[in-house]
Assembly symmetry: D2
Homo-oligomer: 351 residues x 4
């Protein structure tokens, strides 16, 4: 940690900072410039209280050097992690390193028939994990809020029938136990990326967690949230870039393609993109998905609907079946250029 | 609601949109321009599914006309609301309309002695409600997370002794019942502004809720979150502007002063500002607080510490006792220009 | 244009709006809802003064329906434009529709030797247009500001020798004439995207203009700036996405990949990406460039240096020769998936 | 300057960085931690090329310690600057330290009659400097662009008649000479804050410059732009906060009140606010203006129109005469709390 002092700080204030650093078990190195003194705190950065130092007299700013996350960091885990979703009643699907995958399905699970139909379509198009919302976060209290446990049962049955692991969103600490009973992977939405109690609860389970990036979060904030899950012993975190807020008003969010090489440089965790929620409009989904894979993502999570005009939520962003299939073909080709391979379902299925 | 069609949309698609609008119980008005057709849906906007219309063929965009919140809106509640905090073992403090108030205290409650000392200081300086964190949201899983129920007890005792209602943050649906037992008002932090389950749970209580604006939320998003609380029957929502994320890097957040006249025009709810979390640095707190009152806010919530260098969290932003007292004097003068008055504690207290 | 009136607006105010719309030569359609009246103005939108309507009594908001740019819009020019750079002493290079291209070179032109060496390297790697800065926009008045006309001469000579058209930035209206004499294409930097006098001046020339998107501009703002150039008779506008400001602090700017499908849907103009200025760090450049081409861009503009540690500006973002060559191979493969082809220089050159 | 090296950087790379720092005339201090080495460069920071260091092998990041602006900085100029506008045919008006002032007038100068009428109104209400646009920056090439030199003449005549210095916007280096002949102060718009050639040209004159903050600029960027003007010998820079882009869509821009205490801490330059362009809507202007003065600004620049529905541009944001007068009364009271005084015109004028 580096502590920059104000110009003309009295010696006593400098001495106090040095004493505090040493009290915390680190060594202090002083560099005295013409105008300012800069103090380096050398030692275990985790033991130094940055906030405390920042509030001492004469301190202009404190610059941390080490990353504040350890388990998520590539510094202590050089190789790419590979996370597995599924097992038990469904096959395992790998993601990370050279393994890419596609999670697809409807936005909300509306009834067993539509779910089964869409699941068949996405399986046929190349998806290996089935997604669907049972509990829906809605900005208005008057909007449709999901079918809850019933929807979870329909998902479990459909996943088992088609041999696809399932993935669904958890929004509240009180739902973790229920959802864990049904799902193969949790999804944490952008608005809950810093719901720290929820992160801790899913961290106590051993099911993988697709952790979406917050709408105004930096990559560092995101990795700190991943650290919350990892610190509870759950190593199955899959980062998911789903777009950030920007001034561009022709789309809902702006998928931040640069977060892919950045997060991959800082962290060993697998990383996928969600082009549907970023764009909010199906016309733009294929271009964004292709960009994500070209930038190095390990897969996509995407919404598909055979009749988007009837969807109970987010219809405008759902891909049509034929577009989805064509897109998957392109993504496989792009992945191949970068030596990645999309998981496939071995045996064909008569849908 | 207004539906703008793409140029050259076939008649059949226009007919479909009209039919859907009428199926939902509204009337459709067509305006045919040289290049485009625009359809107005006239009726109860709440009954029209905007998302559904947006996903129909030929629809370019859908523009809602009515505000999506009703209980928070000034359209159906013209006069300013006045919310009361306290009652029972402590006096009631009013906020809203011409009533201003100051909530003050430490960031985190560290022990009964420091809490009692700071409470005395802020009461003496002009605060009428005591704040303090028992459960702390921290971006890092390795930071101090608060003293929990014990801290709540210390707060209750101190509030009762000094005749000050207390206010503390709730972060998780599972804490609502516990905190309700001790506190006079809930605080919902910026990161939880769209934690919809939490909003609903505090909405079921009858204790006032200080609802902080999310870091990237618009005023409309914020009022929709207020609507979640109000829709459960709790009418005691106090909006709290605490700064939004911007590109300015010399402060933590940018207090959005304009949100005050905007929210006051759209809504009847009382509105306060939190200059401490916005600035993140005590030097800037007085200027921001003064700006908030000048822009029309009904009060402030502010952190004070007699020895910020020892605070367990957010020390750099805590005001010193003498600065707090001087600031309160200035705020009273500014409020008077705009015919508002800060609540005062009648009898002096020997601290 | 649609004019939404406040609730309970008196009839006289509504009549005034209708009268103004008709005075401007359009027809007014009224839709009276339960709470509000909405007025559609049908006719040539360009003739209606939106600002004027917005300032009339009782008007809540004015929603334009038509795009405010015509020449840049795909509504009146359905097919993709193809722009040609070069001619005369150098070959013509096409960009737009199925034609992709790479513009490459150093950030600043430092001396004839380094320029010649880098030009040879990028030509060899697959670039067909040479870039280089003669006048440099610098945020600090104390930084290196470029070699001016001398650098333009070096660029012209090198371009002619290697058979590559050249492209350089213009920053001031007073430079237009000088730069026009040497260059094959102008570049307008992000900070000048709304320097309207400059846009008009380059619009009066007949050399193509690479128009970078402003750091906080929407796609619509950008197309309006393109309209300034187009409206002067210069049809050679090439849009260049170079990243927007976001809260992410691990890169300089965030390349907005979504702007590619959005701008291509709204406009017929060719569009390239600048991964170097977006990332500000060479490690991230290949991933961003690949994402740009996968999202549908017609090419890249990129900085290359054989010894970035010696560059006079922006060294950290310059690609090394071997990385550039490998990247171009990948981009050609991605382009092929989407049926685009990068321009190539026919005869090999011994560098 | 502080240079943080990557973990496990080889000694040779560290030696290279040290050698480069010493070659540039500074001393290098090494701090070797368990994981990383940090190098402090002690000496004249202006002589160190940050970019160059950042591009060396093994360098993770470079953190500057000193401010990159000197003339604008309070480090070398402790007391508040006072700038004078006017002199010659009109009285001098002071701004800075305890001197506040109000610049007011129409957005665009439309004709001599309206200008004279508005000038009389604002003078009567308490403005001491007259503003008005002769050249207008417009995002659309098809909008009204101002009356040019004729409007300058009208302004000069009106200012002389009423004893008010005048202030008008300059947009292009080619206009500097012309505008200098007529005006008492230049205004640089937000979109030109980084038009470095323009900054240099007005810096060569000796007329004060009202420098608006860019829509996405940090305070540091802004002070660097001020430095461009100051470095040419013109010490009359007046900073003007006019709002930044944020996600809030109910106003045009968000006036960043925090920039006032921040800029005043970093710099000695006077600072005013522009509530009209920030809000874009007259309803919000008084609250924002009051907040600006409460936060410590040295005045406002505001648009006033007696009949905003007829204004040729920005009518919706112009204050009505009576509101302006009432607002000025409130601002004087707020300023008095903070020991500032608004300049007044001694003798009353019969308008």
């Amino acid at each position: 940690m580096i502590i920059v002092m104000n110009p003309n700080t009295p010696e006593a204030a400098i001495d106090r900072v040095v004493a505090e650093i040493e009290r915390m078990g680190s060594h202090a190195h002083l560099s005295r410039g013409q105008f300012r003194t800069v103090i380096g705190a050398v030692g275990e950065e985790g033991q130094i209280d940055q906030n405390h130092l920042a509030s001492l007299d004469g301190v202009e700013k404190v610059v941390p050097i080490m990353m504040p996350y350890k388990l998520a960091s590539r510094e202590f885990h050089e190789d790419d992690s590979v996370v597995e979703i599924g097992g038990g009643s469904v096959p395992k699907v790998k993601v990370g390193a050279q393994h890419a995958m596609c999670i697809a399905g409807p936005c909300a699970v509306e009834n067993p028939q539509m779910l089964r139909k869409i699941a068949g379509i996405v399986r046929d198009g190349g998806a290996t994990v089935l997604r669907g919302g049972a509990f829906k976060p809605r900005t208005s209290p008057y909007s449709f809020q999901g079918h809850g446990e019933e929807a979870l049962k329909w998902m479990r049955d459909t996943g088992d029938e088609l041999g696809m692991p399932i993935c669904t969103e958890v929004m509240d600490t009180r739902q973790v136990e229920l959802i864990e009973r049904y799902t193969d992977a949790f999804q944490i939405g952008a608005r809950n990326m810093q719901n720290f109690d929820l992160l801790r609860e899913v961290g106590k389970t051993r099911k993988p967690v697709v952790l979406k990036r917050g709408l105004a979060a930096t990559v560092k904030d995101w990795l700190l949230s991943a650290e919350y899950v990892l610190s509870q012993g759950n190593r199955g975190v899959i980062l998911c870039e789903r777009g950030i807020k920007t001034f561009e008003d022709s789309v809902r969010y702006t998928l931040d393609i640069t977060s892919i090489p950045v997060a991959k440089q800082l962290s060993h965790l697998p990383m996928i993109v969600d082009p549907s929620h970023a764009a909010g409009k199906r016309d733009y989904v294929p271009a964004i998905a292709a960009a994500g894979i070209a930038a190095g993502a390990h897969g996509i999570i995407v919404e598909v609907h055979y009749c988007p005009g009837e969807a109970q939520c987010d219809g405008p962003q759902a891909l049509l079946p034929e577009t989805f299939k064509e897109l998957m073909g392109q993504l496989r080709q792009i992945a191949a250029i970068f030596k990645k391979e999309f998981a496939e379902i071995a045996e064909p299925l008569t849908v």
